[in-house]
C-alpha cells in the first residue's frame, strides 16, 4: 500500500529525513515514533503529498507521488484520511459542515452526504454536537470531528499525527479503540506519536525514527 524507497527531505540546509525506506502492507497498523524533531510529521506529510521528497521515491497504492499531477493528487487524497495534530477544522462551519465537506468535494448526492455524515458523527458520539462550531468544543471533541471527517470516505489509508497529544487518558483510550475498529474494517493505519504509553502492549509494528533516520523497527 505504501512503499518508500531511499527518501530524503531537507528544508534549506536542515536535513529532516535521510535515506528512509519503508513498506506498509494493506490493512497494516503501523506506529511511527521517536523524539520531537525526529522527522515523524515530515514523513507523514510526504506520504500525504503535502511535501515532495528531496530524493527517493514514494508509491501510494502503486501511484508515484514524486511524479503525480495536481488533479491526480487531489483524487488520491480522497482515499487517504489525515487526522492533523492541530485538527484543521474550519472554525466558521459547524461540526456537520466540517465532516460533510469531505463528501461534498466528491460531488456525492446531498441525501447520501446527510446520511453518511449523521452516521459518522453518531459513531464518534458527536450527534448532539452537529450544529456546534469547532471553537465551542473541547480538544477531545475536536479530535473526534477530525477523525469523523477522515474516515467518512472509507479511506484506504488513515494517517494520524499525534492524535492523542492533548487528550486525557480516558479519551486517548477511547480514540485508540476507535482506530483499532477502523483498522479491523481493512483500512491501513499509520500513526505518529511520541507517547510511550500509547505504544505499550499494542501488538503492532513500531517504526522508530531519530534525527531523520529509521533506527529501529519492533513489534510491541
Amino acid at each position: 500500500m505504501i512503499q518508500i524507497f531511499s527518501v530524503s527531505k531537507s528544508f534549506g540546509g536542515n536535513i529532516a529525513l535521510k535515506d528512509i525506506s519503508l513498506r506498509v502492507r494493506q490493512g497494516e497498523f503501523v506506529f511511527i515514533t521517536g523524539p520531537s524533531g525526529a522527522g515523524k510529521t515530515t514523513l507523514l506529510r510526504l506520504i500525504f503529498g503535502t511535501e515532495k521528497p528531496t530524493g527517493g521515491q514514494i508509491l501510494i497504492n502503486k501511484i508515484n507521488l514524486t511524479r503525480i499531477k495536481r488533479l491526480k493528487l487531489d483524487m488520491l487524497r480522497r482515499k487517504i484520511g489525515f487526522v492533523f495534530q492541530d485538527f484543521k477544522l474550519i472554525n466558521t462551519r459547524t461540526v456537520f459542515q466540517n465532516v460533510a465537506l469531505a463528501l461534498e468535494i466528491t460531488g456525492e448526492r446531498s441525501t447520501i452526504i446527510r446520511k453518511k455524515t449523521h452516521q459518522a458523527l453518531r459513531a464518534l458520539g458527536l450527534e448532539k454536537k452537529e450544529n456546534a462550531y469547532p471553537l465551542q468544543l473541547s480538544g477531545g471533541e475536536q479530535q473526534r470531528v477530525a477523525i469523523a471527517r477522515a474516515i467518512i470516505n472509507d479511506p484506504l489509508i488513515l494517517i494520524a499525527d499525534e492524535p492523542t497529544g492533548n487528550l486525557d487518558p480516558d479519551i486517548t483510550k477511547e480514540i485508540m479503540l476507535l482506530f483499532r475498529s477502523i483498522n479491523l474494517r481493512g483500512t491501513t493505519l499509520v500513526i505518529a506519536t511520541h507517547s510511550r504509553e500509547l505504544l505499550e502492549d499494542t501488538g503492532q509494528r513500531i517504526v522508530v525514527l531519530n534525527q531523520g533516520r529509521i533506527v529501529d523497527e519492533i513489534v510491541a
Binding site: 488533479l71 487531489d74 492533523f84 472554525n91 448526492r109 446531498s110 471527517r149
Partner: protein
C-alpha cells in the same frame, strides 16, 4: 462538472457572503467607490465626446447682407443658397428682427440700444449644414463663393470658433485617454487587493478543502461566484448613485456661445452594461488572482 456540484458551489458562494458579511460589505463598498470614480469619468468623457461630435456634425451659417441690397439680388442669393448640397435655409432675419433678438438677449441692459439713431445690424440668411463631415461639405468653399456675390457683406459659420477649440479638444481627448487608463489600472489594483484581503481571512478554509481532496476549481468557483456577485452589486450601486448625482445636476443648463453646451446626457445602456461588465470582470480577476496565492498545499 455535474449540475449538483455547480448548485452546491453557487449555494456555497452565497453562504460565504452571508457568513462573511462584514468583509463583503467592506470590499463591496471599496469596489462601489472605485466604480463610481470610473463611471464619473466615463460620464464626463462620454458627454465631452458627444459635444465635440455634435459641433462637428452640424454647422450653422449666417449670411449677412448689405443694407442697400435690392430685393432681386436678395432673391438670387436665396436661390444660390438653396442649390448648395446639404445646406438647409432655416430662415431670413430682417434688420428689425435682428435688433429685437439682440434686445431680447440683452434683457435688462436693452436700454443701452435706445440711443442708437440707426439700426446697425445687418439682415441675414440663416443656414444649417447637416452632417458636413459625412457628406464632405466644405463650409469654407460655401463662404468664399457667397462672399463673392453682390449684396453679401460677410458669411460666418459656427465651425470657425469650433475649429479654434479643436486643438484644445484634441488635447482633452488624449488627457482623457491617459487618465482613463491610469484610473482603470488603479481600480483593478484596489479591487484585487480588497478581494485578496477578504480571501486572506479565509485562507484556512482553502487550505483545509485542499487537504481533504478538493480540486482547485472546486475551491476557486465559490470565490469566483462571490467575486461576480460583488461586481454586479457594486457596479449596480455605483450606476444608481451616479444617476442620482446626474439627475441633480442635469436640472441646470449651462450655455456657451449661445449653445447649450452642458446639455448633459446620462450614460447609454451599453455604457451601463460596460460598467457592470467591468465590475464583474474585476470581481472575477480579483478572486482568481487572490485564491491562486493560497493553493500551495
Amino acid at each position: 462538472m455535474r449540475l449538483r456540484i455547480w448548485t452546491y458551489l453557487f449555494k456555497h458562494g452565497l453562504m460565504n457572503i452571508s457568513n462573511n458579511r462584514l468583509t463583503h460589505l467592506i470590499s463591496m463598498g471599496t469596489i462601489t467607490l472605485t466604480m463610481l470614480l470610473f463611471g464619473s469619468f466615463m460620464l464626463v468623457s462620454y458627454n465631452l465626446n458627444n459635444w465635440i461630435k455634435q459641433w462637428g456634425e452640424s454647422i450653422s451659417m449666417s449670411v449677412y447682407l448689405t443694407d442697400d441690397i435690392a430685393e432681386k439680388t436678395q432673391q438670387q442669393i436665396e436661390e444660390v443658397i438653396q442649390q448648395f448640397r446639404g445646406a438647409e435655409l432655416i430662415g431670413f432675419i430682417s434688420k428689425r428682427q435682428a435688433m429685437l433678438q439682440l434686445k431680447e438677449g440683452l434683457g435688462d441692459q436693452a436700454g443701452l440700444l435706445d440711443g442708437l439713431a440707426d439700426n446697425p445690424l445687418p439682415s441675414s440668411f440663416e443656414i444649417l449644414i447637416k452632417n458636413a463631415k459625412e457628406n464632405q461639405i466644405d463650409p469654407k468653399k460655401i463662404k468664399v463663393s457667397l462672399e463673392k456675390m453682390d449684396g453679401v457683406e460677410e458669411v460666418q459659420y459656427s465651425e470657425q470658433w469650433a475649429e479654434r477649440f479643436k486643438g484644445l479638444l484634441d488635447i482633452l481627448k488624449i488627457v482623457g485617454f491617459i487618465v482613463g487608463a491610469f484610473l482603470g489600472i488603479a481600480v483593478l489594483f484596489i479591487t484585487t487587493n480588497t478581494i485578496k484581503l477578504a480571501i486572506y481571512s479565509r485562507r484556512d478554509e482553502i487550505e483545509i478543502s485542499k487537504l481533504v481532496g478538493a480540486t482547485d476549481w472546486f475551491v476557486k468557483i465559490p470565490f469566483l461566484f462571490e467575486g461576480v456577485i460583488q461586481g454586479i452589486v457594486s457596479s449596480g450601486t455605483a450606476i444608481l448613485v451616479l444617476f442620482f448625482v446626474y439627475y441633480l445636476f442635469s436640472v441646470k443648463s449651462v450655455y456657451l456661445f449661445g449653445l447649450p453646451v452642458l446639455d448633459f446626457v446620462f450614460l447609454s445602456q451599453g455604457h451601463a452594461l460596460m460598467i457592470i461588465g467591468f465590475g464583474v470582470g474585476l470581481g472575477l480577476v480579483g478572486g482568481f488572482i487572490a485564491v491562486g496565492r493560497f493553493f500551495k498545499v
